[in-house]
Point group: C2
Chain length 527, copies 2
């Protein structure tokens, strides 16, 4: 495969515009090969038209046909081989080992959705059979299932060039649901996105999917918003900044026809260290925390940016262990110069309000856009007075809030905005204080952890990667795991339809052999 820098109007590469941009190697600031063409209005109109037309064909494809398509995407991505990994590493500054793992996760996500389609019960088939002689009125035959919404626009994320970009979780779940995807490439890794897009298009051709089931665009903000507002676009998947997510959300809900937006935006992922747990294992917790904060150069949406603990006799030991751990962690290249600059500014601001308590002892190489890990402490009363301290600093920085009591921890938690995750470390000695803390964690977050750290988002049925605003714009959803498919569907009911006009999922003889709700009972039996 070759990077052309062109947009893909379905299967057709297109470069009608004159404005272009380059990808930069974040470590060197050198331009990487490839000029990427910004989308023009004519191309935008052609893409949305094609996506709408493709939907009419794609939504008729069987579960098996869609599963074969998803499997083929996985195969085509693997077939790109090391060329893809090298390009992603050059564009993102992320190490090859991490990217190899992330590619594996991406392949795993595609195969998970293929398996979900083949199993088939996710469509939530419900059948209530007729009672013609019911008094005072006959009961009709009613059968419902989930159907796709239409074309979905997906915004690739800077920090996951594979797992939340061209063929990432949003794309995989939308395609699995039966929705064509218009992918906005991320400007920090456009070449990676183009290579993966080529793999998707190749898979679409090989498995006889309609032209337009997948399109790739390189756009500026204004053109992205124009696409969000297009009548053919029926839902949005986004992972990125709060500012970006809110611009998209506001455009989408104020359209003539408002559409759902699943924007995963910002979180500080509070970690609560209860006194008993710290007393039992101060240095172990400190090491785990240091590793979690600096993992992926702190560029995970689940990065633990805020720690609450009771300031007692063990705090000193904890902070010393933490300092020992952090000072050994080498600075590393961030995703871009501007992200690194913003991180530096965030750290400088923290320095003016909080106390620096741990930092890497190794110097950053400024020529490599490197970030130095930093841990700060602040007293709870100062934290409560300064709302800015509860906002995310994207990168390997974290703030420890020292509280006098568990009550002070609860008071601070109450004030937090919605979060992706909340974590508690506790042992038997903490038991009597847990109930209100866990209730608050549940109220604030989409995923709550007992022990461990929130970085590392397992892809499985029970994962919830979501949470109350502003962690996401739709707390009713998850963007990771099999339930992510539920974001792109709506229910439809068939009343008194003859068997041959019903979809397979709702036919009497249950040809798909899926679990259904039949007259109130879960059953795979024929009706």
């Amino acid at each position: 495969m070759q990077i052309t820098g062109k947009n893909y109007i379905g299967n057709t590469p297109s470069a009608l515009g004159t404005a272009t941009f380059n990808a930069l190697n974040p470590a060197t600031q050198e331009a990487l090969p490839g000029q990427f063409y910004l989308l023009t209005e004519d191309e935008a109109a052609a893409i949305t038209k094609k996506a709408a037309a493709a939907f009419k064909i794609y939504n008729q494809k069987s579960a098996e046909e869609k599963a074969v398509f998803l499997d083929a995407i996985a195969d085509e991505i693997m077939a790109l081989g090391d060329e893809l990994l090298r390009r992603a590493a050059a564009e993102s500054g992320l190490p090859l080992a991490r990217l190899t793992g992330e590619r594996g996760r991406t392949i795993g996500q595609l195969k998970m959705f293929a398996a979900l389609l083949r199993e088939g019960a996710w469509v939530d088939a419900r059948i209530d059979t007729a009672i013609p002689d019911r008094q005072p009125l006959p009961k009709p035959d009613l059968r419902s299932m989930l159907i796709p919404l239409g074309a979905v626009m997906v915004f690739g994320a800077s920090n996951f060039p594979f797992a939340y970009s061209a063929a990432g979780g949003d794309t995989a779940s939308a395609l699995a649901a039966g929705c064509p995807v218009i992918l906005k490439a991320h400007p920090l890794h456009p070449g990676t996105d183009e290579l993966v897009a080529q793999a998707i298009i190749s898979a679409a051709k090989k498995t006889n999917m309609p032209d337009g089931v997948f399109s790739l665009v390189f756009t500026d903000e204004a053109m992205a918003i124009r696409l969000v507002k297009d009548d053919a676009v029926k839902a949005i998947g986004f992972t990125g900044s709060r500012k970006g997510g809110m611009a998209i959300f506001n455009a989408a809900v104020n359209r003539e026809e408002p559409i759902p937006v699943y924007a995963e935006m910002s979180a500080v992922n509070p970690v609560i260290l209860m006194p008993g747990a710290v007393a039992a294992n101060a240095s172990g917790i400190a090491q785990g925390y240091a590793t979690s904060v600096t993992m992926g150069v702190g560029q995970f949406c689940t990065n633990p940016g805020l720690v609450f603990m009771v300031d007692d006799d063990n705090t000193k030991l904890f902070l010393r262990s933490l300092a020992d751990s952090v000072e050994k962690i080498a600075p590393a290249t961030m995703l871009s110069k501007s992200i690194c600059t913003a991180y530096g500014a965030g750290v400088e601001k923290l320095k003016t309000i909080a106390t620096l308590s741990a930092e890497s002892a190794l110097p950053a190489d400024d020529n490599k856009t490197e970030a130095v890990p930093h841990i700060f402490t602040v007293a709870q009363k100062d934290f409560m007075l300064n709302k800015n301290l509860s906002h995310e600093v994207f990168g390997p920085a974290s703030l420890i809030v020292l509280c006098k009591t568990v009550d002070e921890i609860c008071e601070a938690l109450k004030d937090l905005e919605g979060q992706l995750t909340a974590t508690i470390h506790a042992n038997a000695a903490d038991e009597k204080y847990l109930s209100p803390v866990i209730a608050l964690m549940k109220a604030k977050a989409g995923r709550i952890l007992f022990g461990g750290f929130p970085t590392g988002v397992e892809v499985c049925d029970a994962m919830v990667h979501g949470g109350p605003f502003p962690a996401t714009t739709d707390a009713r959803s998850t963007s990771v795991g099999s339930a992510a498919i539920l974001r792109f569907v709506r229910p439809v009911a068939y009343q008194n339809f003859p068997q041959h006009l019903l979809p397979d999922a709702l036919k009497d003889n249950n040809p798909l052999n899926i679990l259904r709700i039949v007259n109130g009972q879960k059953s795979k039996a024929a009706v």
Copy 2:
């Protein structure tokens, strides 16, 4: 019970304001007993504070406790006896027989949600157990389930004084989900709402529910919007006009923390009469259509306002049968003078564009706020030129669009906005034309019917009373049937939690005996 006209701040009646209004008998325009006090700012603040506090207690109640509460509401409503029916009839102009049936449906809804809670599987429990020795990283234990969003504000509907008002489907599903309810009484039946509210509060007290689990408010538009914007309110249920629904939606999505709005607003519910079906049964279909259009004085959201048919040799017979049926249907009292006036204006407008082809031969009694049924016809080409013709005229009016071909029907369907329902009448002779028509019906509506008419909304698992915008502001939901509970919840995942701190739904030994997804398999077995 006695109508006091007071707001209910949880269990506490309150009338701090000076502004009041009366309910009017729509048939006579006479004021009914009771002065209703408009909510003041202090009362609004007290109510939202109480609802937020009640949520913390109510969301900890077990499924059984909530089920007992819902059953008790049903009992308390029945205990109001004929007094309730008489007040509802006086306020709405609806006949006692209809209201008795609607009360039965309301009781049925409450009991359906109680049964759903006792069955328990609706919480969508998912368990992925740990694999500590997985390479390269251990797999954590993850378990997820649905939890309530928080306090829900419900707007009572004018046309369903019971089934979509104080203890209607929105309230029942929100309470079942674990959410306190703030009910905005409908100004056309405030006394009915107060009586039912007293029943709910009485049930709450008897079953030990927290004060604030239910509040009742009488408000003007500005105060209603102020409540929608309150931080304590986490979701909205609404049934009513497009103008009202959109005002609420716009306020809710443009809050600092946007919240979901389930507004069921407007639909013309297209009915497609295929040539074969009309040839086989013109007069039968005509009679059914006349009955459906005029049922409840045409004041159902599923009223069939638009019919598409091919203008052929059978059309005349169909229209004559229709005229015969309609002329015998007596004019009847509408819900209010203003609704009746708007209906009259809608009919006058139709007269200027379309041809009147059937109307009641019986005179309306203007002193009784009565509406006369009207059926119009128009040629497809004129329909396509006049967008206004596809908008709802609330009341017993309907428009038949005469098409030259089935293709013309499809062309017209494509142009329609989202609908609650779409209906097709077809027989074997129509088979070859069905596929594109049904695809369009599915794309446009939440419920599609083969034969019959859309009025009559069954309360069951498979019902979808929803649909693409502007039928609703959230096509992913239904407001009728057991799935309505899913509007007021979000998923939360527990990672590596010890057994005793997990909710019962997620414990290894499955104490609730519910069907769960355990490591990819649906099972009731212990883990």
